[in-house]
Subunit: 330 residues, 2 copies
DNA sequence: CTGAAAGCGCTTACAG
DNA sequence: CTGAAAGCGCTTACAG
């Protein structure tokens, strides 16, 4: 590959001038600039990123740390990040941690060694407080989807509001006895969905049906299992609020397995609006998360921190959820 | 971050010796090695990857170029790649091209500038023949899922065999009139599935039902649309072979929309075995692709090429498909 | 086996 | 505005 000296020679200037013309921070005569640009163009010169990185410059790479790409919530967010990164000339390194703190630490060390410019984490949760120290070590960090305190720039959903609207809608449809099948309360996002559920119930003067409120459920198999147990115990809620679309899918299967219909006998509300949630039977009524947009915002914020520095107080950006009415709620 | 000189000082040796002790290619006295290792450990020294890269070493990063992470076939393959890469100390840069050749070229240039060690492409298709030149420019390349000739190391599915088995199974269930709703014949993988379909039909002495064979269909919306048209025209196949699970989902919706049942009235066979294909109603009978395994193999091969060089002829590795019987075929 | 030195390809303070 | 030089942190051929 052609280097800066060859370009300098071709343009009839010094390497310094080529560098200055290219970075654009230090003034260069118009004449020199034109000759350099012509040579760069002609020779298809691309500065060596290692040399630039070694000089303490940015390498224009960000690390994206998530639990698992196979979890259906992440692909859209990844696209948002990657598209935005690409527009700014950045590249994205993908890391899956499986919620495993060892893997997470490994990736952080490994990536810092490469002097990654910054990180986006979707792995924040209790036990991962050491992530909060990264900024003080000079590493720009943004949290996305999941949060952990307020000391880090964060982009999340209004989980409380989304759940609240979902329950309000179900109540408005005449549904009264609404079970909740929720994820782990370790994660604020599930805690907030629970709080939204409770608020809507309270406002309607309804009591929490405590024996039909289950936390710590994840994915369709778990969802199927817990719903089956509820049904086996004789519970017959009017509706179930599943705080993720996969759980909703398992729940629908369990309901049908005992010969009941969705939504005629039991309504099911999901949460996420995954790409295929419109395709299942019945098409899922659910709360949409703007995953792509979250990715875009998280990435923009990170790049801004990388390029302009963190000059203001960290901000927790909360995006609105949106109810998507389809056919799984009566 | 601590650099090699500080480690050298602490260990009472020269930087050269530290480097040699660490890389391990050039002999170092046992005594020196121990002192170096102790200092490295104590100071938590990590060599600067830029400096190493600048010296012409490997940067231990591979570029993964796919059409779109949101396409449900990729996440599992990505995990296979990333897990394997991680085991070897490699990091994965993810690039989405949306089948757009400009984006693809942009990424290739951008990544080569960073001296990526090699590429895995899932974007091979007619029009992308320039990818075939990469190896001659010294860039290790592996194709995964999609192939383009035989000049590149490739990991793909036995698409012909998978389709053949699917049709054989349907025939064995007494299904005769089997429609085909297929993807674009531009891609060898769909061409091969078509060939498998034809072979099974021929062997059974059945003719190709030409007016119920449609190519160029992609995704559930397309699948829904084309099935609806077929049905509207009065076609009533015994079964439909959809060459992807998303197409199968759209097809099932279309069948139900006109009041027919799956599989009692029309059976539907998918292809892919996506994570959620067991969860839909009816649970999808389909042909499983070992996506994770394909990722593992592709990544292993690439790392081998990076570290050992391409010393043998390129190989096209063909993995077996497996029929997964569930409930959408009678 | 070991150290001093050169050099990878940039950027930037220094001197003009 | 411009060039020569230093230096980022490594690795490795060179000399011993």
């Amino acid at each position: 590959m052609v280097n800066i000296k060859e370009v300098a020679k071709a343009a009839g200037v010094s390497a310094s001038t080529v560098s200055r013309a290219l970075t654009g921070k230090i003034p260069v005569s118009e004449d020199a600039r034109i000759r350099v640009m012509a040579a760069v163009e002609k020779m298809n010169y691309q500065p060596n990123a290692f040399a630039q990185g070694l000089k303490g410059g940015r390498i224009q790479t960000i690390g994206l740390v998530i639990p698992n790409v196979r979890s259906l919530v992440f692909p859209a967010a990844i696209r948002g990040i990657e598209d935005t990164a690409g527009q700014h000339g950045y590249t994205v390194v993908l890391c899956n941690t499986d919620e495993n703190i060892e893997k997470e630490r490994f990736y952080i060390e490994n990536l810092r060694r490469r002097l990654i410019d910054g990180f986006i984490f979707s792995t924040a949760r209790p036990g991962h407080e050491y992530l909060l120290d990264l900024p003080s070590e000079g590493v720009p960090v943004v949290f996305m989807i999941r949060q952990l305190g307020k000391a880090i720039n964060t982009v999340v959903l209004d989980n409380e509001g989304g759940a609240y609207e979902a329950i309000r809608y179900m109540l408005s449809r005449g549904l009264k006895n609404i079970a909740l099948i929720n994820g782990s309360l370790d994660l604020p996002l599930y805690r907030h969905r629970y709080e939204g559920y409770l608020r809507a119930l309270q406002e309607a003067g309804a009591a929490e049906p405590a024996d039909m409120v289950v936390h710590g459920i994840s994915g369709w198999d778990d969802g199927y299992q817990v719903m089956k147990e509820l049904l086996d115990k004789g519970h017959r809620p009017d509706a179930v609020f599943a705080t993720s679309d996969p759980k909703a899918m398992g729940i629908i299967r369990a309901i049908r397995d005992i010969g009941l219909r969705v939504p005629q006998d039991i309504s099911v509300m999901g949460f996420d609006n995954l790409d295929f949630s419109s395709q299942i039977d019945p098409p899922l009524t659910t709360v949409a998360q703007p995953f792509y947009e979250m990715g875009v915002r998280a990435c923009r914020r990170l790049i801004q921190m990388i390029e302009k520095g963190q000059n203001s107080r960290p901000k927790v950006e909360i995006l609105s959820a949106q109810l998507v009415v389809r056919k799984s709620v009566i």
